[in-house]
Amino acid sequence: MDLTEDIDFEEDTNIIDKKKEEMKKEFLDENLKKANVSFKKVNKNNKKIFKRKPFLKSGILLIAIAIICLIISSYSPWMYIRYNSENGSVEDVYYRYYDNKNNSNDEYVNNFFKTSNSSKLIGISSDDFTNVPQSSFYIFIIMIVLGALFTIFEIINKFKKFSRQIRTIIHTFFSLGTAIICIYYIFIIVKFLGANIMLSHNLNIIKPSLDILNIVFINPIILMFIVAGILKLSFTMLKINFKEFENIYKSNQPEKTMKNYRYKGEKI
């Protein structure tokens, strides 16, 4: 073989290498351009996921509901009563603290709702119309405080960013507190519902003292429904927190438990 052929070969290999590099660069540039497009798409999806924050304004919502409840308990009637008297059937409305704005103050009604009488027959007396509104006032104040604390915490969180886990744990404790308060309030107010049942059972015994045609405890029923709604909300908040942690846990964990296995004497 001649030396000239060798030189040609060397030259050829150099040309091939250069061509290779050029070709690879072209392919890689095309790939990178397409990859950029794909990355942008992924980022858009990610933004949507991270922007979601459950119940950011739950504290404000709680304050608003508690204020509405306070207004209802103080300004709306607690009892509507219709009874037969000497003058015929009489309708009357009683507000909190057993306050009668019509100033009728019928002796029959007053006598019936004395603690010695009515509490034995329907389980409610005039004292309950003062005690329950008072306790409900304190309970709604506590709810407002809880809501305020929660909103303050959220505001602090905006500046001093807590970790997501601590935020949700505090969130759960707030909702737990509201749930306990709500259950307690329903427990207190449910006696008015019981009074309605007792009235229907003991109507024959009550009739001689006061011929009651109809009795409705308006405020307790409305408040009971509202508080039950708050209870439901607090439970949904707890559930959301649970699901949030569950998703985080699932994303952190592999599908199957990771185990160390040995392969040719070495651990993988």
Partner: protein, 444 residues
């Protein structure tokens, strides 16, 4: 930590909470007692909890104490269930483990409270039944109010049993996991045990005992096989998904193939245009060589060679045994393990790929050389090898730079939300700093 068990506990705790709240309300407002012929009026008077509290009768007043205890116990149930629910949430957060365990354990106490309250409720109603003047309150004469409460109580207790069983199972699983972790930590601390294979050859060198496999090893092997099967499935699924995703994108293999084709064409054009040597001639060489080798082997069978043959036979037997042991799953095992190793150490795979490429290039270069004379082959081989090595080294350098997978893409800063270009290293984690605000971050 098993998430399914946590979910089942959560579902039951919510159901139990609903039941306990309902029970509390029912006991509070439903009529409990009925007194017949009240004050000789001939009417029956009904009592609920509030009525009973204000009663003058001592027998009725005594029942109130019992009911108050029941209410307190139900309240304890509600609180324990609520705390358990919160404990589950904290448990999932993987923080405050001791606190979450205490809260969940507190939830398990609900069974005690519920059973005690049920016992008190039953004894109280039995007392009412035994009393001459008192009767349990009824909706219709044959159906008492207490049946509703007892029905809910029974349902509550049945669910509570299952609930507590789930909690116990959850704790048991947790302890198991902890023990396993501890074992792993201990095994990591100790020096790694070498796999002992008992391969003994007799003096004659003919018999070979199979390696003894312990029961534990078998179990581990089975576990390993299962795990690897799942891994292989996962990899296959991932590959399919990647193929589907990157249908439009030209893959590295495609690039390489295109390149190889072009190179081959170039080579053929440049090197074999004027050559008249037929490729078919080369195919005859190996056949002739094999015949000659066999003849030489037959002629040169000395006693020393016979011993060597025996040893080689033994080695073949060893291989056969190992192959029989491994069979099909272990083949996949090797593949999967090599993949796993490559996953853990991505550099290894790339080097292997590069080595494959090198071999391919060598083969391509060898083909034209085969057509030339043997004398010229020896001379050219030396030169081409050197050139190839040099070219390979040159090829590797840019390849390594590319294989580092430094992909450029646009990133949006979470702080200032400005977009800038960043290079990402696929092999590991890359740290990025925002050029506008200086916020540091990591791309995985």
């Amino acid at each position: 930590m098993n998430i399914d068990s946590i979910n089942s506990i959560k579902r039951k705790s919510i159901f139990l909470l609903f039941l306990s709240i309902l029970l509390l309300m029912l006991i509070n407002f439903l009529p409990i007692l009925a007194v017949e012929n009240y004050d000789d009026t001939g009417f029956t008077k009904f009592y609920n909890l509030e009525n009973m509290k204000n009663s003058d009768n001592n027998e009725i007043y005594n029942i109130v104490d019992n009911l108050n205890i029941i209410i307190i116990l139900i309240w304890a149930c509600i609180l324990s269930l609520l705390f358990c629910f919160v404990g589950l949430i904290i448990k999932l957060s993987e923080r405050f483990h001791s606190l979450s365990n205490i809260l969940i354990f507190f939830g398990a106490l609900s069974i005690g409270f519920s059973y005690l309250s049920f016992y008190l409720y039953i004894t109280q109603n039995l007392e009412i039944y035994n009393n001459e003047f008192l009767k349990p309150a009824y909706i219709i004469e044959s159906f008492d109010y207490l049946f509703i409460v007892i029905g809910f109580f029974v349902l509550f207790m049945l669910v509570d049993i299952y609930y507590v069983y789930n909690i116990a199972q959850f704790f048991y699983d947790n302890k198991k996991d902890q023990k396993k972790k501890e074992k792993k930590i201990n095994s990591k601390k100790k020096s790694p045990k070498k796999i002992q294979e008992e391969k003994t050859i007799d003096k004659s060198g003919k018999t070979l005992k199979e390696p003894k496999i312990d029961v534990k090893d078998k179990e581990e092997k089975e576990e390993l096989e299962d795990w690897l099967k799942t891994e292989i499935k996962k990899m296959e699924i991932k590959d399919k998904q990647n193929l589907e995703k990157n249908k439009d994108l030209p893959t590295e293999n495609l690039i390489d193939e295109n390149l190889d084709k072009k190179i081959q064409d170039n080579e053929k054009e440049e090197f074999f245009e004027n050559d008249n040597i037929k490729i078919e001639e080369n195919k005859e060489y190996p056949k002739q060589d094999n015949n000659i080798e066999k003849q030489i082997e037959k002629e040169e069978k000395t006693p020393f060679k016979q011993k060597q043959d025996n040893i080689s036979d033994l080695k073949i037997e060893e291989k056969e045994i190992s192959e029989n042991q491994s069979k099909q799953p272990l083949k996949s095992l090797d593949e999967a393990l090599s993949n796993a190793v490559a996953k853990k150490r991505p550099g290894i795979k790339k080097i292997e790929d590069l080595e494959d490429k090198k071999e391919n290039i060598e083969k391509k270069i060898e083909e034209p050389i085969k057509k030339e004379d043997k004398d010229s082959k020896e001379e050219t081989e030396l030169k081409t090898d050197k050139q190839e090595e040099e070219s390979y080294k040159e090829e590797i350098k840019p390849n390594q730079e590319i294989s580092a997978n430094t992909k450029k893409f646009n990133v949006k800063c979470p702080k200032c939300s400005k977009i800038f270009e960043a290079t990402k290293n696929e092999n590991g984690v890359t740290v990025i700093k925002c050029p506008y605000c200086g916020k540091e971050g990591v791309i995985k």
